[in-house]
Every structure is written in structure tokens, then in C-alpha cells.
């Protein structure tokens, strides 16, 4: 082989060797960037979590210091108010820790439900009555729209009640005075039966039919379309609204519970018109 051809051949071999090396380096760089981004998201979540847990702990510690400094405080009206505040703060913390534990179990695939035969209508009426006082204190009405007064099914009553707790407390938080919350539920056998608030029948595909289609609608402020995809992400939650502390993980947990039942959870929202969160509860395991 002539020397120039040999040199050209050699250079070609080097280029061919460098191409996969360059690709691998590029891929590693992208992976490192993605990992760093994930670490930042995790760090942000951890920082928010620490902040949310610090607040009630600060109250408990501060109130304890005050009682230690003044032994007569416990008998005074202010002391009794402080004790009630401490109790409330410890409940807030316990609730946050329980939520985090649920999210951990859901993510680790260890979340368990215990299904028994029961009436979904009972659960709905029970939760509507439970939240009615809180809603009424804000001038909000809760009504129930179901045709069948039984709605028999096979589900984990405690966990499905928890789903309603999360959806109803969110609805109340985001609805102004004079607003309305409607809980609806009905059986659906085909996708043509799926008629949503803003989506015509048949356009939304439900897996696992037949099922109950449950909706919790409010006339609140609605959700910014740019933020809808974040709602079921734990890393975007942990927020506070007007002095109400909480994990903000309600929707994340509700999703885990519904999906453990083989159902789907989704929502529709329009700014200034309100939001409806839907979930399905399959009737056949």
C-alpha cells in the first residue's frame, strides 16, 4: 500500500474509533446533567419538607418554653389557648408524616389496600356531611348528585374515604365564599358513557370498565394550564395556602390509592370556572 493511502487509512481508523468515544462522552454528560437536575429537585423537595415540619415544631417548642418559664400560664385562658395550639400543631405534623409514609409506600410498590364489599354512596354521603361544616363556615355549599342510593362495589373504604378527604379539602381551599362543590358518581359501562364537565362524551378513554366514575367539582379559581402536569408530582407540592399548613401531597396520595384499585385519576380545569377531579373505581377486580 502507498504511504499516503496508509496515512489516510490510519486517519480513518482513528476517526472511526473517536466517533463512539465521542458519543459515549456526550451520553455520560447528558446523564450527569439529568442526574444533577434530579438531585436539585430532590434537594428542593427535602428543603421544603424540612421547612414545613419546622413550623409546627417551632410552635410546640416555643409554647413548651413559655410554660416552663411561667408555671401559672397553664391555668390562664392564654395558656389553655396555647395548649390547644400545641395539640393542633402536633396533629399537623402527624398528618404530614403519615402523608409522607403513604407516598413512600406508593413509590416503593408496598402500598396495600384491603377491599371489602360496601356502598360507595355511603362513603360519599359520609364525607359530604363531614366536610359540610367546614365548607359552610366559608359560605360554600356541598351537594351530592348520585342516582343510585347504594352504588355497591368492592373497595378499601378507609382509603377511598381518604381520597375524598383530599379532594374535598382541596376543593374547599380553592373555592371562594359563595361557591359550590358537587360530588357525583355513576356507573359507566362504555367510553360513550364518559361525559365530563368540559369534554364531550366518548372522547376520554377509561381503562378497566365497567367502573364507577366519581367527580368532585368546584367553582373555584381553576388551575393554570401550565401547572396541571405538576399536580400529581410530589416534588412540586409541599406548599401552603393562606396560613394552612400541610404536605400538599393529597393528590399524589389519591392517585396512588385509586391506581391501587385499578382505577384512573384525572382532572379538568378552566381558570375562573373551576376544577373537577375525576377518578374511576373498577367494578371488576
Amino acid at each position: 500500500m502507498d504511504l499516503p493511502i496508509q496515512v489516510a487509512y490510519f486517519i480513518l481508523l482513528i476517526i472511526l474509533a473517536l466517533i463512539p468515544a465521542a458519543y459515549l462522552l456526550h451520553r455520560e454528560k447528558k446523564l450527569n446533567e439529568a442526574q444533577k437536575k434530579m438531585e436539585l429537585v430532590h434537594d428542593d423537595f427535602t428543603a421544603k419538607l424540612v421547612h414545613e415540619l419546622r413550623a409546627p415544631l417551632t410552635v410546640i417548642r416555643g409554647a413548651t418554653d413559655m410554660f416552663l418559664q411561667d408555671s401559672t400560664l397553664v391555668a390562664k385562658d392564654q395558656g389553655k389557648e396555647l395548649l390547644a395550639t400545641m395539640r393542633h400543631s402536633s396533629e399537623d405534623m402527624l398528618s404530614m408524616v403519615n402523608d409522607l409514609l403513604d407516598v413512600y409506600k406508593i413509590e416503593a410498590g408496598r402500598f396495600q389496600i384491603i377491599k371489602t364489599k360496601g356502598s360507595l354512596a355511603d362513603v360519599i354521603h359520609d364525607r359530604a356531611v363531614f366536610f359540610n361544616q367546614l365548607a359552610a363556615s366559608k359560605g360554600i355549599t356541598i351537594s351530592v348528585q348520585i342516582d343510585d342510593h347504594n352504588l355497591p362495589g368492592n373497595f378499601d373504604r378507609e382509603r377511598i374515604s381518604q381520597v375524598f378527604n383530599n379532594l374535598l379539602s382541596n376543593a374547599i381551599k380553592f373555592t371562594k365564599e359563595g361557591g359550590r362543590i358537587i360530588i357525583s358518581a355513576r356507573p359507566i359501562n362504555t367510553n360513550q358513557d364518559v361525559s365530563l364537565r368540559f369534554t364531550p362524551p366518548g372522547q376520554f378513554v377509561v381503562n378497566n370498565l365497567p367502573a364507577f366514575l366519581v367527580g368532585v367539582s368546584d367553582t373555584g379559581e381553576g388551575i393554570d394550564p401550565g401547572k396541571m402536569s405538576d399536580l400529581f408530582s410530589k416534588y412540586k407540592q409541599l406548599h401552603q395556602i393562606d396560613g394552612q399548613k400541610g404536605s400538599g401531597l393529597g393528590l399524589v396520595i389519591a392517585k396512588g390509592i385509586v391506581e391501587s384499585h385499578g382505577g384512573q385519576i384525572f382532572l379538568e380545569s378552566r381558570p375562573s370556572e373551576g376544577t373537577t377531579v375525576y377518578f374511576t373505581l373498577p367494578l371488576v377486580s
Partner: protein, 125 residues
């Protein structure tokens, strides 16, 4: 006795600090966010403002900046009272005119009240 405006969105913490400050015979006014805090400063003319950072509607640093930009309110001492201790936030608060910066999880209510007393008795520059 001096009038203290307590601006914090956490109802329980506001109650705790209000009880402590009242026991030291201060008059306490409260606001749950920065917007209402600004309105109360103008209406009540407090002697000192205790200001949280993470609040809805208007956060503490933005509230502080507006207080210090307004000739009517800029001389009122503002003590930041927060659970956020990041260095950049602390520096930002001081450069925006905060008189002091307290971390809620580090100070007891009594220490907070003592700091309030110190700030009120220290002549302003």
C-alpha cells in the same frame, strides 16, 4: 407601651409570639401576609415590625423592600423572623434594610421578645 406588628402567615406561630409579646406588655397587631402587613403599617404606625419571609401574596423580602422605599415607613425597624437561614437570604434582608434576622427554630419566644426590647431601646443611626 410599644406597638409591634407581627406579619406571618402561620396562625399558630402568630398566636405564640403574640402571647409572649403581650405578656411583656407590648401592644400586638397581626397580619397574615405581606400585603395586609403593608396596609397595617400605614394604618397603625407600629414601633417595630416582625416579618416572616415565606408568605402568600407578598413575601417578606418584597414587603421589607417596599417598607424601606416608602418615606412614611422607612424609619420603622424591621426584624426578620423566619425559618429560612440561607446566607443569601440573610444578606439580601440586611442589604434591603432589615435591622436584625432571627431564626424561629433557634430562638425561644422569650429571646425573641428580648431582641425586640433591644432593638426598641437602641437609638437608630
Amino acid at each position: 407601651m410599644a406597638k409591634i406588628l407581627l406579619v406571618d402567615d402561620d396562625n399558630a406561630l402568630r398566636e405564640l409570639y403574640a402571647v409572649e409579646l403581650s405578656s411583656k406588655h407590648y401592644t400586638v397587631i397581626e397580619a397574615p401576609d405581606g400585603e395586609q402587613g403593608l396596609a397595617k403599617v400605614k394604618a397603625e404606625k407600629p414601633d417595630l415590625v416582625l416579618l416572616d419571609i415565606m408568605m402568600p401574596k407578598l413575601d417578606g423580602v418584597a414587603t421589607l423592600t417596599r417598607l424601606k422605599q416608602d418615606p412614611e415607613t422607612k424609619s420603622i425597624p424591621v426584624v426578620m423572623l423566619t425559618n429560612f437561614g440561607q446566607e443569601n437570604l440573610v444578606q439580601q434582608a440586611f442589604s434591603s434594610g432589615a435591622t436584625d434576622y432571627l431564626l424561629k427554630y433557634k430562638v425561644t419566644p422569650a429571646e425573641m421578645a428580648e431582641k425586640v426590647g433591644q432593638v426598641l431601646t437602641t437609638p437608630s443611626p
